[in-house]
């Protein structure tokens, strides 16, 4: 099966999921992002790479943070950005996704950033668009959220440069989490030797071990000597039926407190993709504490999104060069 994410020369054409991307491309994105971190610290927080390009944020599902960081990233690359909250516009009048996309292509959009509650939505659009148009998945259903996975890797690498020597724990609602899937694929592809998932049985997909992770149901055992704790948001809005007794009960068993964190290595860092449920999956003292890298994640997220857009938009006609 050919990989819709790569062109015939093996370069990134769309970013749809971490799964299926070679280590080389992941590292290239992380290395390119390194160069973009400094842009935000300058007098003029812009580079001219995407000057004259139009980036369309197509959000069929709400997400303030992801949409904002994509918007800032595109603007810092000098692109023109249009953010459409599609759930409140044409879709509610009955227009199909592809009609929406075709209309935006007719307006000469160059790149789509897509967030949708259905898994595979970004793939679907990527298959449909002409060759010069690029699609970035900004989260589709339970499937994938590749830029989140990448920014997490970037953050980890900033604090712990040697990924080949790490023990990483992912804690919480793995079942409903596209972030967890992207993180697991990214960690294993980049060669992190030990990836753990910590969750109650009801919040784990069946056969999660096949992704190459070690499963723990006891948080204290799972956090022992880890270098990185990646918390997941408890997906209240996706929780149908009684998977959990109560939020309070969950916090008692799987909420990250200072006490539980003390079982990890003393220099362990804590990540969370946001938005946080304080007092449900994470205690405020941890979220705001010394070991928290949660706000740096947001900052690095912009650099990662700039890197992805820059790589997609550049070099598409190199075949014409000698």
């Amino acid at each position: 099966m050919n990989n819709p994410q790569l062109d015939s020369d093996g370069r990134l054409r769309h970013l749809l999921s971490i799964e299926g991307l070679p280590k080389k491309i992941l590292n290239q994105i992380l290395d390119t992002a390194e160069s973009f971190v400094g842009v935000a610290e300058r007098e003029v927080k812009k580079v001219p790479l995407l000057r004259g390009k139009t980036v369309c944020n197509l959000f069929f599902e709400n997400s303030t943070r992801t949409r904002t960081t994509f918007e800032i990233a595109a603007k810092r690359l000098s692109a023109d950005v249009i953010s459409l909250n599609v759930s409140t516009s044409s879709q509610s009048k009955g227009e199909t996704i592809l009609d929406t996309v075709d209309n935006l292509i007719a307006m000469h959009a160059d790149m789509f950033v897509v967030r949708h509650s259905q898994s595979g939505a970004a793939h679907f659009i990527a298959k449909h668009v002409p060759e010069h148009i690029h699609v970035i998945n900004a989260g589709d259903g339970r499937h994938s959220h590749p830029t989140q996975g990448l920014l997490d890797m970037f953050t980890i690498r900033k604090y712990k440069p040697d990924l080949h020597n790490l023990r990483v724990a992912i804690v919480g609602d793995v079942l409903h989490s596209r972030v967890a899937r992207s993180e697991i694929h990214a960690l294993t592809t980049l060669g992190v030797p030990e990836v753990r998932v910590i969750a109650p049985k009801t919040l784990l997909p069946t056969q999660v071990e096949k992704l190459g992770v070690h499963v723990f149901h006891d948080m204290k055992a799972g956090l022992k000597d880890v270098d990185v704790v990646m918390m997941l948001r408890l997906q209240n809005e996706r929780m149908n039926g009684a998977m959990l007794p109560s939020a309070q009960e969950y916090f008692k068993t799987y909420g990250l407190t200072q006490e539980k964190l003390s079982l990890a290595k003393p220099d362990a860092i804590v990540l969370h993709p946001g938005p946080m449920n304080r007092g449900v999956e994470i205690d405020s003292s941890v979220a705001d504490g010394q070991q928290s890298a949660i706000l740096p994640q947001v900052t690095y997220g912009i650099a990662i999104r700039m890197a992805v857009m820059a790589m997609l938009a550049g070099g598409q006609i190199s075949g014409n060069l000698s």
Partner: protein
């Protein structure tokens, strides 16, 4: 001074010439900026040479990777290796000495100037190149060079750095051409 093509191999001598020419330009608010990668190697060597000869003990300096400002980006895309630009001093009102290894079309210089202005408004920019190989395509030319020569479009002159840090110029010809670099005056 005229230059024979085989003089090119001696980048180390050219570097000393460059340092001598550069010395009178240094003032209190001068800063050196090297363009990746050859310009950065030159800058690092120049810092040592200039600090030895003058009293200005610490010359402010930085590096630029102009990848994000290149006019051929849409065609070529990003290099797989980018090095972040590092300008840790305030560019505002500085006299910037911009250092490149081989001056050719002027497009790199244009990109570098555009990037510099995103850090602030310098008092002046002086362009310094080890070699001006001729062939500019823009109204830009270096003010200070160690040597000026004329190469044809199929010749490629590159500065390389040995493992021991020594600099070397390599002349490659795509067509194995017998063209010789023309003599010219500095």
């Amino acid at each position: 001074m005229t230059s024979e093509p085989n003089n090119l191999s001696n980048a180390e001598d050219l570097l000393k010439v460059l340092a001598q020419k550069l010395e009178p330009l240094l003032q209190n608010n001068t800063a050196l900026v090297g363009i990746q990668s050859g310009g950065v190697w030159l800058m690092q060597r120049l810092l040592v040479l200039l600090n030895d000869t003058i009293t200005a003990k610490s010359i402010q300096h930085g590096t630029l990777d102009v990848s994000f400002y290149r006019d051929d980006y849409a065609k070529r895309g990003l290099k797989t290796e980018n090095r972040p630009s590092q300008i840790s001093f305030d560019v505002e009102n500085k006299h910037i000495i911009l250092i490149d290894d081989v001056f050719y079309t002027g497009r790199t210089t244009r990109a570098a100037m555009n990037e510099l202005f995103d850090y602030g408004r310098p008092a002046s920019i002086t362009l310094v190149a080890l070699v001006n190989r001729g062939g500019r395509e823009l109204p830009i030319t270096p003010q200070i060079t160690a040597v000026d020569i004329t190469l044809t479009a199929d010749q490629n002159l590159q500065l390389t750095q040995n493992a021991d840090g020594a600099l070397r110029l390599e002349l490659k010809s795509a067509l194995q051409s017998t063209h010789q670099a023309h003599h010219s005056h500095e």
